[in-house]
Symmetry: C2
Subunit: 396 residues, 2 copies
């Protein structure tokens, strides 16, 4: 039974011994890594001198080049946000009708960009361990209308890229990765964003690597990059030539300056999150009904998120009850990703959205919870959060 308790949360009233874990200030699920203000102000002064605010300015050019160097890829196009990058990715490959197979366990943007490109999403079930698309299940959903596969490296865990590539090649399908979570992830010493035909990164403020809002589209050839750069600028190839119905996806100089400075702090941020992830894993190890993801062999993880699965029977409390209880302790976890995209009113009537077809995703979405994780979070705070999680379960 849910009651509004004295701490303002809408969860069940908490036993007194758990209230001692309450934080005086909210602990958010994430906070952005801020570069040194003084360095940002130096870039600002140059913007004020040149009065060049957007449209391929000097900072944009520098950030785009240095980002490619950092990621180890040659062709990168910056965007105002990751959603518009994904909209343009489909347009760049001329995918504007038919079906695309994708995962329901993702942020809404993944499905919505299909809508904007006139494409019917076909939702496919996910793998129990990685929460990513399962190539064998993908292959069974291919029809005459399938144009592409749009997998997501959820929480930065690499998809089975070899399996997906084999399926795509066998059926002549395009393969576009939503790599919004996967900044800096490497698999067998190769950047995960080098996989597939195109990969899209998000630099939203809630992401590991941020340019305020922002995103990037990684392509494989100079010609692809040129087409993408035209399309994100209304289709302009030059002042008088418009190659197609483009959009405004341009990143401005203020975002580029922020992104440029993030490149100097990102390694430290990843190291801090790796350290805190180890604390979470240690502190929550053996907690009945709480399952954490583990590192995969041959993968350089980015530790962008701290997802846990809550098995209500073993834990003694549902994910929703745990979420509410943590909230009442000023710990703001997030239900990434609940509900499934396939359960949004705009997609739920699609045949592929039937929960019977998506048993793993349906189970994961009801059990998943992302706990707070960001570089400046104190280890002591992580220990307190873990103690609260342990005792809340034991208390039932």
């Amino acid at each position: 039974m849910l009651t509004r308790n004295e701490n303002g949360g809408s969860g069940p009233a908490l036993p007194a011994r758990i209230k001692r874990y309450r934080f005086p200030e909210p602990v958010w699920v994430t906070r952005p890594t801020m570069p040194p203000l003084e360095k940002y102000q130096e870039h600002l002064r140059s913007i004020w001198e040149t009065r060049w605010l957007t449209n391929n300015g000097r900072l944009h050019e520098t950030f785009e080049r240095r980002l490619g160097d950092y990621l180890g890829v040659e062709h990168v196009s910056l965007f105002c946000n990751g959603t518009i990058a994904l909209v343009v990715a489909l347009q760049a490959l001329r995918i504007h009708e038919g079906e695309v197979i994708t995962t329901p366990f993702t942020f809404p943007a993944t499905a919505h960009v299909l809508y904007w490109n006139r494409i019917r999403p076909v939702f496919c079930d996910i793998d129990e361990t990685t929460f990513n698309l399962d190539p064998a299940r993908v292959e069974r959903l291919i029809t005459q209308d399938t144009k592409a596969i749009l997998p997501v490296h959820v929480f930065g865990t690499p998809c089975d890229t070899e399996g997906l590539e084999a399926v795509a090649r066998r059926h002549g399908l395009a393969l576009i990765y939503d790599a919004a979570h996967a900044f800096g992830v490497r698999c067998r010493e190769r950047a995960i964003v080098a996989s597939g035909d195109l990969s899209v990164l998000s630099f939203h403020a809630t992401k590991l690597f941020t340019s305020i809002e922002g995103g990037a589209l990684v392509s494989h050839t100079a010609a692809q990059k040129e087409r993408i750069d035209f399309l994100k600028n209304f289709g302009f190839a030059d002042e008088e030539t418009v190659i197609g119905p483009g959009i405004n996806g341009k990143m401005n100089e203020f975002q580029a300056a922020f992104g440029l400075l993030q490149l100097d702090v990102i390694e430290g941020e990843i190291a801090n999150r790796r350290r805190l992830t180890a604390v979470y894993r240690h502190e929550l190890a053996g907690t009945p009904g709480i399952r954490l993801q583990e590192d995969l062999p041959d993968v350089e993880h980015n530790y962008a998120y701290l997802p846990v699965l809550v098995d209500p029977d073993a834990y003694g409390m549902t994910r929703d009850a745990l979420y509410d209880a943590l909230k009442s302790l000023n710990i703001f976890a997030r239900k990434y990703f609940y509900p499934l995209c396939s359960q949004f009113p705009c997609y739920m009537s699609l045949p592929s959205a039937d929960p019977k077809n998506l048993p793993v995703a349906e189970r994961v979405t009801r059990r998943i919870l992302c706990l707070p994780l960001y570089g400046t979070l104190e280890e002591e705070a992580v220990r307190t959060i873990c103690a609260a999680v342990r005792e809340l379960g034991a208390a039932r």
Copy 2:
């Protein structure tokens, strides 16, 4: 005959007496109004303190409210850019099929947002004096498939809003204004952005009023604004409810801070542009073959652009030759808007795109040229530009 001359321009070689008008540094068609750097840095410090970079931050909230106050409208939604605002405007009114009547004499975004909403553009000819849609011609193009009218207040000159409203009302059509150029314009003491069902502003760096990139959607009711705000944030009504396939149209805190400070300098910027416009009008008055727009009765203009029409027979030189000649003098005019949207490869095969249906627009697009205009441009520079324009014509 076009030759590459010694100044690097691709226009005809210029007589020696005209070369004395060459500027040592490029004079661009526009430059953004920069607010005081120190004030911007104050906002930055607050962003660094709160680490709140986007998603309805404090600066966003303040800018949205103060912008509404300045414009004299109650419901404003900020956007990352004007194009995405226009994409969402159509979605907010559930216009996602059929035809929309619009002008071909506009920036590509106006037509492209119809593409993104699955709508067939129907191009309608414009008025000779205002360069805006002609209501009588609009009415003749209405069919069973027409869903809306999408006029543009080109160069900030108000459309015949009463005429267009009468047509829209008679036929039960939505009326969405692309007011990208019309910041601050008032007509019979009423904000022009209060017209129609929705109006969209652009705050791109090239605009009179800028938030780096940016835009806004003006609506008429709290319910409309709420729907728009959901749609620009992926359709989220709350953390767990997605009302439809939205997009990411969010303006971030860095843009909002810039826009907020622009509100303090915009009156001065308009006054400066008004003064420089008067200089242009005085200096070019009576130049054969050069026509400038005049102020309209009952209109508070914003003097955002300085468009001139070049009649090649009377002037002695085509618009393109004048553009090239000015470029070789380091004067960067712009052919706003050439070519017509109806001449882009993606639209030219539409029946309404036939040049025979658009005689006024076809003539205007071949003759139009926007000369440099921005608040910090020196009066002396304007006089030099005008002298060059006068003598170039007389020289032929």
